[in-house]
């Protein structure tokens, strides 16, 4: 049996599962988003969506939250990994760094509420010190949502980056230092080429996850503008189900956007790796 046939066979259970559940769900969503037999064309719901200000606002705030959370998580995750690589050889440290990953997102969001709400711990502490405390949860800047995602996702970034750093050839850094490279130049030439594709892939996973997740913005977001999944939930259930096709159309667009982004970023990461290999 050729190795490619074998790898497809090994993938088969997952593929069947994907087609049965995810595929079927996506197909249903697409089907319900079409306006079959209506007078205004089969894509009428998509046209309505394109003209809907509430949807534009939701999309805008979703991209903003997903982008900022992803960038901060990547940056801080990279810093943590670089600083801690030598300690991370011990399992205790690894477990410590990954522990927040075990906490579900909505629990994480509740913790943020507990600490950062106007009646929360930090506000009480600030008040007893005679200081004011800014509104950081259920705020239009989505600070609470971003905070939740950043502290939840940093361990994930560390998890993805750690193998890269642990396999990195330490002699490269020594060479660059002995040649007189500064810290930045050293990072630029001895670490970045290996870190870059992993960061891009991790960033993709985070961005797509954050833009499509419901529970954190439902708890810590605002009524308007709401993030796309929260708006989809509202449209899915309200007004005797009459806005349901719009919700489905919105989710189909979100899905297509995510797939396009994935294709773009994954081919870029692949190209970077190929280039890195030919240089080495």
């Amino acid at each position: 049996m050729s190795s490619s046939v074998k790898s497809w066979l090994l993938l088969l259970p997952l593929l069947v599962f994907m087609i049965l559940f995810v595929g079927q769900g996506m197909f249903r969503a697409f089907q319900e988003s079409l306006d079959v037999g209506g007078s205004s064309g089969i894509f009428a719901n998509y046209e309505a969506l394109a003209a809907d200000g509430t949807f534009h606002a939701a999309l805008g705030v979703s991209v903003y939250v997903a982008f900022v959370s992803t960038m901060l998580s990547l940056l801080l995750g990279l810093l943590v990994t670089r600083t801690l690589t030598s300690w991370m050889k011990s399992d205790t440290w690894k477990l410590g760094a990954w522990f927040p990953m075990l906490i579900p997102h909505f629990v994480g969001a509740y913790l943020i509420l507990l600490f950062f709400a106007p009646t929360g711990w930090f506000a009480s502490a600030a008040a007893s010190a005679g200081l004011g405390f800014p509104v950081m949860v259920q705020d239009t800047a989505y600070i609470g949502v971003i905070l939740t995602y950043v502290w939840k996702e940093i361990p994930f970034v560390v998890l993805m980056l750690l193998p890269v750093y642990q396999e990195m050839d330490g002699r490269m850094q020594e060479v660059s230092r002995s040649l007189g490279a500064g810290r930045w130049t050293g990072f630029r030439f001895t670490e970045w080429p290996w870190v870059r594709p992993v960061l891009l892939e991790t960033g993709l996973i985070l961005f797509v996850f954050v833009i499509g997740a419901f529970e954190v913005p439902a708890l810590l977001g605002v009524t308007y503008p709401s993030m796309v999944p929260v708006l989809a939930f509202d449209w899915f259930y309200q007004s005797g189900w009459s806005t349901r096709p719009l919700a489905q159309a919105m989710m189909v667009l979100l899905m297509l956007g995510s797939i396009l982004l994935a294709l773009l970023l994954l081919t870029t990461a692949y190209r970077w790796r190929e280039r890195g290999r030919s240089h080495a």
Binding site: G53, T54, A117, P118, T119, V135, Q138, D139, T140, A218, L219, G221, V222, T223, Y224, D234, F236, Y237, Q238, S239, G240, W241, S242, T243
Partner: protein, 400 residues
């Protein structure tokens, strides 16, 4: 639509015997004497789809209803906490897939959710006439036949009756009319809010604003698009004027009643609201709400809302579901439901139909009315609920 066993209608079904599935439907059961239904119910396991956000209500179901059904009828009862739109959505998927072995047997439902369920044929059928305990219910009451503009046709039976009321903490002179409430909000900036209108409590508050704008309840007795066109702007204008005085200056609203109750318990706002004028009592007892919480029913009018019990089209234990619903209508269960330390909500019994002992018990329990009968406002047509959901965010939240 695919083929499915048509929902039995009382008259039509005799003519069209549908052999498919062979499940017992409302008609075959309606022929059976009640004793046979009780016998068939014995040993069954049933579950009820119901909103689970109130500890007092859950305690009533777990401590009163479930043990009684177990002891008296050998029925195992369990709750499945779920919001009505969610279980209806699930039933709709099962309907489309022709799935007749549903996991729920009883539904807690009313208003626009009942309308959605009825229109999409998600209900079992007309069963009200089969229940012996319907004798205790005042059949003259308008809500028996009509639920927020939708004809009931025996597909659900009334279970409880609640008034909309407001809770305040630390207010020296709490407002007693809508006018005073709006002024109070202005004098106490940041103290008031109401949940998002996709939530029934928040929607109910806006329905009170409709009543406030209307000259008399008769203007709103039936769904009237012309009235909305003429007066809709006044409704939104009232709410837009209120918004800057609200919690977070109306920048955002609590997502649910639980969230607002949490804000109230934390002292972040000093009022909360909701259907069931007695709902604060068990919360005070548990220590969730402060001792000085005061409940006010507006003398300018308070919406009185009835909620119902129904059965889904794909219950696998219709006999046990009927027996359980019948018990929940009994004077015994209705009186236990009045107990403020658990649920404490209004009954739907006809006081002329119950025994004099039971009548005394009810009168002792109900005590002083929070909302006198003459201040009760009728619930609005479910289409007003839709109108509020469709426009509120754009007209109020986005106009800041």
């Amino acid at each position: 639509m695919k083929r499915y066993v048509p929902l039995p209608l009382l008259l039509a079904a005799a003519a069209c015997a549908d052999g498919e599935g062979g499940a017992e439907d409302a008609d075959t059961l309606s022929e059976a004497p009640w004793e046979e239904i009780e016998e068939a119910a014995s040993g069954a396991e049933i579950s009820m789809y119901m909103w689970g956000g109130d500890e007092g209500i859950n305690a009533y179901m777990d401590e009163v209803v479930a043990p009684h059904l177990e002891e008296e009828y050998d029925i195992t009862f369990s709750r499945q906490p779920m919001d009505a739109p969610e279980f209806l959505s699930r039933l709709m998927t099962e309907r489309e897939a022709d799935s007749m072995d549903g996991s729920g047997d009883i539904l807690w439902i009313n208003g626009e959710n009942f309308r959605t369920a009825k229109e999409n044929e998600l209900l079992y059928g007309s069963f009200a006439d089969m229940l012996p305990n319907m004798d205790y219910i005042n059949e003259e009451a308008p809500y028996v036949e009509n639920d927020m503009g939708t004809a009931v046709e025996g597909m659900q039976v009334p279970w409880g009756n609640v008034q909309y009321a407001f809770q305040f903490q630390g207010a020296e002179d709490p407002p007693e009319t809508m006018e005073e409430l709006l002024d109070w909000a202005e004098e106490n900036p940041g103290s008031m809010t109401y949940p998002d209108v996709s939530n029934d409590t928040g929607n109910g508050f806006v329905r009170h604003i409709l009543h406030h704008v209307a000259e008399s309840p008769e203007d709103l007795a039936e769904y009237d698009e012309a009235w909305l066109e003429e007066n809709g702007d006044d409704v939104w204008e009232t709410l837009r004027e209120l918004a800057p005085h609200l919690w977070r200056e109306g920048e955002t609203y609590p997502d649910s009643l639980s969230q607002q109750d949490q804000l109230f318990a934390d002292g972040e706002v000093s009022m909360t609201l909701g259907f069931n004028e007695h709902r604060a009592e068990s919360l005070i007892e548990q220590g969730t709400f402060p001792e000085d919480t005061e409940t006010i029913g507006l003398t300018s009018g308070s919406i009185s809302s009835v909620h119902y019990l129904s059965m889904p089209f794909n219950t696998t234990e219709p006999e046990a579901a009927l027996v359980a619903i019948n018990y929940m209508l009994s004077p015994e269960a209705q009186i236990a439901k009045l107990e403020p330390s658990r649920w404490g909500e209004g009954h739907i019994l006809d006081l002329d139909a119950v025994s004099s002992g039971e009548r005394d018990e009810i009168e002792a329990m109900v005590g002083e009315e929070v909302v006198p009968q003459e201040d009760a406002l009728p619930e609005l047509d479910a289409r007003y609920v839709d109108w509020i959901q469709d426009n509120w965010e754009q007209e109020v939240v986005q106009q800041r």
